[in-house]
Symmetry: C2
């Protein structure tokens, strides 16, 4: 039997995420290839208490169908946190709950992209976004980055000449590079999209993971009507609950509701209630400071070991938050080959290839520093040193 699959299935990039999970299941391998938060920092006790409360007090409601928009008190909490942290006048009406911010990628692509449409993305850009968008068969327009963010002159030309439906970026602690946009760059981006009636899709999955715990102003603040923002509790509370959100202009929210309803009616209500109970029972800022202190320490450790163990021809980024850094390799080292050689020495790095929507990445690898222990980082970086040495530069 031959199954008549749709054209989009043939245009989808081969997925790396599944292979990553396979690697991460081998306990002998120290993996810097994944993207998991540190399990030991999950507040299991706090979430257990919240879960007991919800099942005891609101179980019958939490187990029934609910509205597509998401649990109102949870949306109000998210809006209020935007107000307090960033001084943004968000309201619950502007916010919808989704199954982790990955679903936001899918649904936003769905409501904007027709086959052949241009969509902008950072180069390198988040592979989950490339996978989600690819399903709608767009033409990717990649814009390179420097240490201050996406290159604004190229970004401007893109919006003036090619009119992408939207541009997707991660201004805070980008995946895969760990870079952040400078405030000046954010303002430039905001001005360009305002002037060209463009749309910036601002993925802020990592914004709360700032090592200095200081908020950075989102592009959304400078160009509210031109920015679709997404956020997630996956990195700061619990990815297994799959709760993220979109924060967008009303016209976008209205279309988003149609797409969300057609996609799965609504997100898990039980976990929305547990999340809300948890958020309103704990000191979230203190919990986040615990995470960022741990990640900051691991990041500094990994950076110093890069500097110590790796040749100068390998250049690293310098993350100020988040979970990732990017290595740029000399010509003699191919990232896929480094991946394969690393596995032989029981260390996994992630070749940059899936992050380049239009090809590339043979000269970059992504390293994750959040999910390994400090001991694992020390051992893993030694293994990486040996792996690199085997290339005889």
């Amino acid at each position: 039997m031959k199954y008549p699959f749709s054209g989009r299935m043939y245009s989808a990039p081969e997925s790396f995420l599944g292979r990553l999970f396979a690697v991460s299941n081998n306990p002998e391998i120290i993996s810097f290839a994944g993207g998991l938060p540190d399990s030991s920092l999950l507040d299991v006790e706090g979430i257990k208490d919240a879960s007991s409360y919800v099942m005891e007090e609101e179980g019958r409601e939490a187990l029934q169908y609910t509205t597509t928009t998401g649990y109102l008190p949870l949306r109000e909490y998210i809006a209020e946190r935007y107000n307090k942290r960033l001084g943004i006048p968000a309201s619950a009406d502007d916010i919808r709950i989704v199954n982790g911010s990955q679903q936001c990628l899918d649904l936003t692509a769905k409501i904007f992209l027709d086959s052949g449409d241009a969509v902008g993305i950072e180069n390198p850009g988040y592979l989950g976004a490339i996978e989600a968008f690819s399903m709608y068969q767009p033409v990717f327009k990649c814009v390179d980055m420097d240490d201050n963010g996406v290159l604004s002159d190229v970004f401007k030309t893109l919006f003036e000449k090619e009119k992408p439906k939207f541009f997707y970026g991660i201004p805070n602690f980008q995946n895969p590079s760990g870079r952040s946009y400078s405030d000046e760059r954010r303002k430039e981006i905001a001005e360009i999209i305002r002037e060209t009636d463009g749309i910036f899709y601002e993925d802020d999955a990592f914004g709360e993971l700032s090592f200095d715990n200081k908020p950075r102003m989102p592009v959304k603040k400078y160009a509210p009507e031109n920015t679709i923002m997404s956020g997630s509790f996956s990195k700061i509370i619990a990815p297994g609950m799959r709760i993220g959100w979109i924060y967008a202009p009303k016209e976008v929210i209205s279309q988003f509701d149609c797409a969300k309803q057609a996609a799965d009616l609504h997100s898990n209500f039980l976990c929305q209630k547990i999340m809300h109970r948890y958020l309103t029972s704990v000191d979230l800022d203190s919990h986040i400071r615990k995470i960022t202190a741990a990640y900051s320490k691991k990041c500094r450790l990994m950076c110093s070991l890069c500097d110590e163990h790796l040749p100068e021809s390998i250049v690293r980024t310098d993350p100020k938050g988040g979970m990732f850094m990017l290595l740029t390799l000399p010509k003699k080292i191919n990232s896929l080959k480094l991946f394969e050689e690393g596995l032989k020495r029981k260390v996994a790095v992630l070749p940059g290839i899936p992050f380049y929507a239009n090809g590339g990445g043979e000269d970059t690898v992504r390293l994750n520093f959040s999910s390994s222990t400090e001991d694992e980082i020390i051992s893993g970086m030694k293994r990486l040193k040996d792996t690199v040495a085997s290339f005889r530069l």
Copy 2:
């Protein structure tokens, strides 16, 4: 600011589900328009115990990311239940977890439908399927039903002449009609798809809700390679947990995994674990018998009140399970007008219109009997009687 939405957003049918929730929020209205399971039959205590167990014993794992495929023990449970109930040799490899079977509609459409492709559906057919499929801009090919299921001669001509990518149907206690396919009709459908290399998408959301608690053989049993089946715990356990599944041939599962990963990485892991713990701690058959006994009683009550209160020119279906029945109205009564007049008398029925993918349904309304109490059914049917009387037939 004008937002450049995709073409599919303009081809999407106006949604009814959102309006239904609005109606269901007015406590003065007795609503037969919704599709909720009876909240009083939710096993809140049992799920609370399962939830406490998971948070206590496996909390740290349940709160972390997991695989796209879904929780293996849960998939094994589902496969084993197919083996035991229906004698189908399902294995966990053939099963994937989704966010309620609504997500199965979206992802199956995504992997099969290109814009302009033909897709078959019952007439009337499930509105959630019409909404989900519409996002991929197919051409709907509707096939009428009689009391034994979809008309097999029309079904056959459709597959011979128009080659739809797949045909979507609900053989057990169909939504909206409450009708079921006879065993003979299932075998005919199976033979047609086998002979034409066609695909039948067999939505079995209601199969366990059989009033006689006897299983009916799915089309999947007669044509396994040509059938994609979906199931759900929403009607028998808890819709708020959003756990459904697809059961499909391996080639389909492989594409489905790509689509699921791009859509939201994986379904809520915490609730997958709670669901599995619940299923393996309770007597599920006994719980289901409790539900079917209650629904059967409510259904018989509503049927007898239809026969007593409504004129002979209004014809009802005769459900043997599920949650719905369909009324066919005489020409003088328009279903939308009946809806509006009903609201004035504080009873809500659902006009058939959104269930007809290519138009129609002005002469049908769907009634739900699962979510109202017997007293509400008695009062609501009196209100419906008065509403119908106002049309002066």
